[in-house]
Symmetry: C2
Subunit: 341 residues, 2 copies
DNA sequence: CTGAAAGCGCTTACAG
DNA sequence: CTGAAAGCGCTTACAG
């Protein structure tokens, strides 16, 4: 069963393709009778315009590309959902690719999406990405792109992130409010901007509360798995048996710390309070449940999509493109691991 | 900066578009010199064929659609990864949509994908889907479709699932092997095929081990959240204080049961052994860690994609389409919640 | 070995 | 009010 084309309708009605097209598109220079008969027949034959032909004609695909470091991940999969939902509402479809934190793959996938002629691209930088030529290439082609979560100052485009420094500040401030004074920070790698900003927030909270900074309380985790958290908590506790708080770069690292404390009879939160980052599902599953910082993941996806589609529209209208840097609010979620002593 | 077209190359070289096209596509009826100069220039100008024009010409988009009930879900997000990886390897891109377990949405999205002219569709049925006309419509248009995870006998297309009955059988058999005799089954809804099959597996395991069936040990959960598991475990324990095993329809339900037992001083696994289903991340996070049935999620995505792309190729070659029903192997993963007493 | 022509399915400026 | 023609960027059967 072949697809119905304008030509088929035209032939049946004995009129030209032009007129059929106009009738369907609501041009008013079409006789009322003609219009009606075209529309009826189109309906009966269940005519659907060939999107592929429209794509070619209109120079747009109504498709956006999304490159994400990791799909099987509570935060990112929630971002994906936000993107898809928002895009669908605005009439766009989404092609998703996973960079696996690899610079090479990210670059290759960016090219695939451009070849595919997507109307715009959404991207969270891979950890492995250290140069940005592939992104500059996109900007030169004037293809709209919006970065989110992991971004870089070296790329001038719209961006959606959270305020990592402030979020960390609030987390540590919360620990201090609970009475903590010797707070260990299990931080991420030095070269990761997000990790650096959270570290700055940690510093600021100490400063604002007149707690002197002790750099031996800061540990750089070389992995974000639960076991990494266990290992670093063990190390920290050995070196600082009087520690009374932990601010971990992720919930998994925090969960690892709690596992270590649980196993060694160190009471959480009585002896050591623990707070993580992300509000991932495990926070309410472990015992004690884990306080954390909630990142608005779906909103991040929605917001980034919104900016992208807006930019696509501006480019299309040939008006100057506005760039935005949006920082979404976070909030501390208090659970058992930092409840009042 | 406009995109380079064949026409541009032709003009610069003073030859026809036809010859440029042929040179690039390796036709041998092109002068060696001409070929070389075309290829060089194309490279220098970084020529990329316009995919949109090719789509129209070739009547294919090298794109497949994926409709999934829920994106933020460990099992499904892992399926997504499998699909995307496999598709990318085979030169296809993937458009993802979320049906939110809704029949209506699933139908609408199916139409969107068809309008989009995807080459094929991958779909896990929504819980809300009770009739299959929208799927029959797809089959009539001869658009390749492969169902996975949640499938229906009423739709004749290739399918990829696990053998739920066998998987459940093995789980319950494992409990029996650990010495359990009064095994509670927290099952899913009566009208859900997967739930029904697992229930059948439960029955069969009892039968094969000469344990008489007691239908008061079977509870139909009206939800799969942890709290649902807690509530039903409480109910079961109240009615059967001598119960010694639980086989739950999902890991979350099982985790809820464990939470209830933990809180009430009922030893797991000593007094009651518990096994879940899916091998989701929480299984190794809770205490005691949860035994479960591992479902091959990425493999399911890969396998379904593979079948789909194969079918697309067959349709294209006009050879008769073969339909497959693949059942992927599962395996029992033993953790603390069912360790030897 | 080269290229004019037709065609994929649509849109739209233009002539009548 | 209608429709022939040109065009989006490509491919390919065909003539020379």
């Amino acid at each position: 069963m072949k697809e119905v084309r304008l030509k088929d309708i035209a032939q049946i009605l004995g009129i030209s393709v032009t007129t059929v097209s106009k009738a369907l598109k609501g041009y008013k220079d079409v006789n009322e009778e003609t219009r009606k008969s075209v529309i009826m027949l189109a309906e009966n034959l269940n005519y659907k315009p060939n999107t592929t032909a429209l794509n070619l004609k209109n120079r747009e695909t109504r498709t956006i590309g999304l490159i994400i470091p990791k799909i099987v991940h509570p935060f990112f999969s929630s971002v994906i959902q936000g993107v898809i939902d928002e895009a669908e509402e605005k009439g766009y479809l989404v092609i998703i690719l996973q960079s696996n934190e690899s610079h090479e793959l990210e670059k290759k996938q960016l090219e695939m999406l451009i070849d595919k002629r997507v109307d715009g691209i959404l991207l969270a930088l891979a950890d492995g990405t250290i140069t940005y030529d592939h992104l500059h290439a996109v900007m030169e082609k004037e293809i709209p792109i919006v970065l989110f979560d992991k971004v870089s100052d070296d790329v001038s485009c719209s961006k959606v992130t959270i305020d990592n420094k402030r979020a960390a500040y609030e987390a540590v401030n919360h620990l201090i409010g609970m009475g903590c004074r010797k707070i260990v920070h299990l931080r991420g790698p030095m070269n990761a901007p997000n990790a650096e900003e959270r570290y700055q927030g940690y510093l600021l909270a100490l400063l604002n509360n007149d707690i002197s900074y002790d750099d031996s309380l800061v540990y750089e985790c070389n992995g974000y798995r639960i076991e990494d958290g266990e290992a670093f908590a063990a190390k920290a506790f050995e070196q600082h048996p009087n520690m009374d708080g932990v601010f971990a770069i992720t919930d998994h690292v925090a969960a690892g710390a709690i596992a270590f404390f649980n196993r060694n009879g160190i009471k959480v939160p009585e002896q050591v309070a623990v707070i993580g980052f992300s509000n991932s599902p495990l926070t309410s599953i472990i015992t004690p449940s884990l306080s954390t910082v909630e990142q608005p993941s779906q909103e991040m996806g929605r917001e980034a999509t919104d900016l992208l589609i807006e930019e696509i529209a501006q480019r299309k209208r040939q008006v100057p493109v506005e760039l935005f840097q949006i920082q979404l609010p976070t909030k501390v979620v208090v659970r058992e691991s930092t409840k009042k002593k």
